[in-house]
């Protein structure tokens, strides 16, 4: 019971720090920074991953091999390694200081683009071969077929996987802690350093927050998955819901 009241009072005293960090007196942090990092990471990685996937599936070897190599390496090392490389290398490469936040975004984009490109590639390859055949037979170029026929279907089917990847990204942002990015875990660390005596309570709150955010998103992905299955069965094209109902009424 004592522990529960401790938790409540920690939340009462620190909710703003957990939510937005030192903002507006310092950099944005807390849950807000975690979510912004994750959204930026995925949003920038996504278009890149589509390009990577198209390159690995392209008929042109000069495009295929380097990108496959890059994806292979990025998937084959721990994210922490990428973060450290970006942290030490990027300032040298561009000759300027790079904030922890930007470092983390760059590292996440590299890592997530490599992972997502495999998701996109699998999504493309899961479509029946007849789709590409039909598009080519009508005279579309390889890229035209991808753009108008293959990608719209593959990306739609991939929405749940992208959300899952987003959830992973949220968890991965915790690694920003090692380079002092003021995200949620960092905020919890600050609180713990201030209180000194209640690490269990503080990290319990932290775990609950991550769990609630990730669980909600995972549920969303599951719901979308069944919705997509339903759409794919042809029942749910919104443009023709009325027509569907008419047909259902007939039969």
């Amino acid at each position: 019971m004592a522990m529960l009241s401790n938790i409540v009072s920690i939340v009462e005293n620190n909710w703003l720090l957990l939510l937005v960090g030192q903002y507006p007196n310092g950099p944005l942090g807390g849950i807000a920074a975690t979510l912004i990092l994750s959204v930026l990471g995925i949003a920038l990685a996504f278009p890149l991953s589509v390009l990577f996937a198209l390159a690995t599936l392209s008929p042109w070897r000069v495009l295929r091999w380097p990108v496959m190599g890059l994806v292979y390496v990025a998937r084959g090392v721990p994210l922490l390694m990428i973060i450290l490389w970006v942290y030490f290398l990027l300032p040298i490469l561009i000759g300027a200081n790079v904030s922890g936040f930007s470092t983390m975004v760059v590292a996440l984009v590299i890592y997530e683009a490599a992972f997502l490109s495999e998701v996109v590639r699998a999504g493309i390859q899961a479509l029946p071969r007849g789709q590409m055949d039909a598009a080519r037979a009508l005279g579309h170029s390889h890229l035209g077929a991808m753009r108008y026929v293959i990608l719209p279907q593959a990306l739609f089917n991939m929405i749940p996987s992208i959300i899952s990847q987003f959830v992973s990204t949220i968890k991965e942002t915790t690694l920003g802690y090692v380079i002092n990015v003021p995200e949620l875990t960092f905020a919890a660390g600050q609180i713990n350093n201030r209180l000194l005596t209640q690490p269990f309570e503080v990290y319990f709150i932290l775990a609950i927050i991550y769990f609630v955010v990730c669980w909600t998103l995972t549920r969303l992905a599951t719901a979308l998955e069944s919705w997509i299955a339903w759409r794919r069965s042809g029942a749910g094209n919104t443009a023709v819901l009325a027509a569907t109902h008419a047909v259902a009424a007939e039969s």
Partner: protein
């Protein structure tokens, strides 16, 4: 014989010494044959005899190892730039056994997509033309539906309309009715009959012998990668010369 436009002498599709192998297996062996302009050719033969492979070489969905396939005077398998091949393909209508409609697009958009994106036709013109074609295959009322909401027969008729939208001088069909429930075969064959009557050059892989008898100018019988017999349908069905063809027809009747 039921063709209004009599086949003229000029070939639309010509196979010249075509060979294709899958490893040791000869999928096509020394194919020499031609489809004249306005002609309807039915290709038949046992499963695995190479019919699909043959018809797919015409628009180069399959590559060949030697020989040439000439479409309307152009060698499809020559060294072509990508855009030259795309242009050539857009002039060869192709209908698949499994329809292969684009499931994320409405019926109308399925028919309009390629004229707009490949041929650069304006949206309004493409729509008018697409509606005409859907009318022609009896599906104008389904323009706003999505493929999954249609029966197999309806999907295949949309696929035919989609191919016709590119205004091809010839149409290829690879077992267009094999994936259909029996009661839907008739509606697709009716569309194909009408096409033949209008003088379309057609190459059809099919086991619909009534269609062959009634519409085809010529039947090609294939077995083990070779064309063993080329004959008018009347002769082919009454007096097939090759023993393999005789056996094939007996098996077909026995089914």
């Amino acid at each position: 014989m039921s063709n209004a436009a009599a086949p003229s002498a000029a070939p639309m599709i010509r196979f010249e010494g075509v060979n294709k192998f899958y490893g040791d297996l000869a999928a096509l062996l020394d194919i020499n044959a031609e489809v004249k302009k306005g002609e309807v050719v039915v290709v038949c033969g046992p499963s695995g005899s190479g019919k699909s492979t043959l018809i797919r070489t015409v628009n180069r969905l399959e590559e060949i190892h030697s020989g040439a396939v000439v479409f309307d005077g152009q060698n499809v398998h020559a060294k072509l730039g990508g855009s030259a091949l795309n242009k050539l393909r857009s002039r060869i209508g192709f209908v698949f056994q499994s329809f292969n409609l684009f499931p994320h697009l409405s019926v109308l958009d399925n028919v309009m997509l390629s004229p707009i994106k490949v041929s650069g036709v304006g949206k309004t013109d493409a729509r008018t033309r697409a509606m005409e074609l859907l009318e022609r295959v009896g599906l104008a009322n389904k323009a706003q539906s999505f493929p999954a909401q249609l029966s197999g027969g309806q999907q295949q008729r949309v696929a035919i309309a989609r191919a016709l939208a590119m205004e091809p001088p010839a149409m290829l069909f690879d077992e267009p009715t094999s994936a259909l429930d029996p009661e839907m075969v008739g509606e697709v064959l009716a569309v194909m009959r009408a096409l033949a009557r209008d003088g379309m050059t057609m190459m059809c892989v099919t086991h619909e012998m009534s269609f062959a008898r009634e519409v085809a100018d010529r039947v090609w019988f294939m077995d083990a990668g070779r064309i063993l017999e080329v004959a008018a349908p009347g002769d082919f069905f009454r007096t097939p010369t090759h023993p393999r063809a005789q056996r094939f027809l007996t098996d077909l009747h026995a089914r």
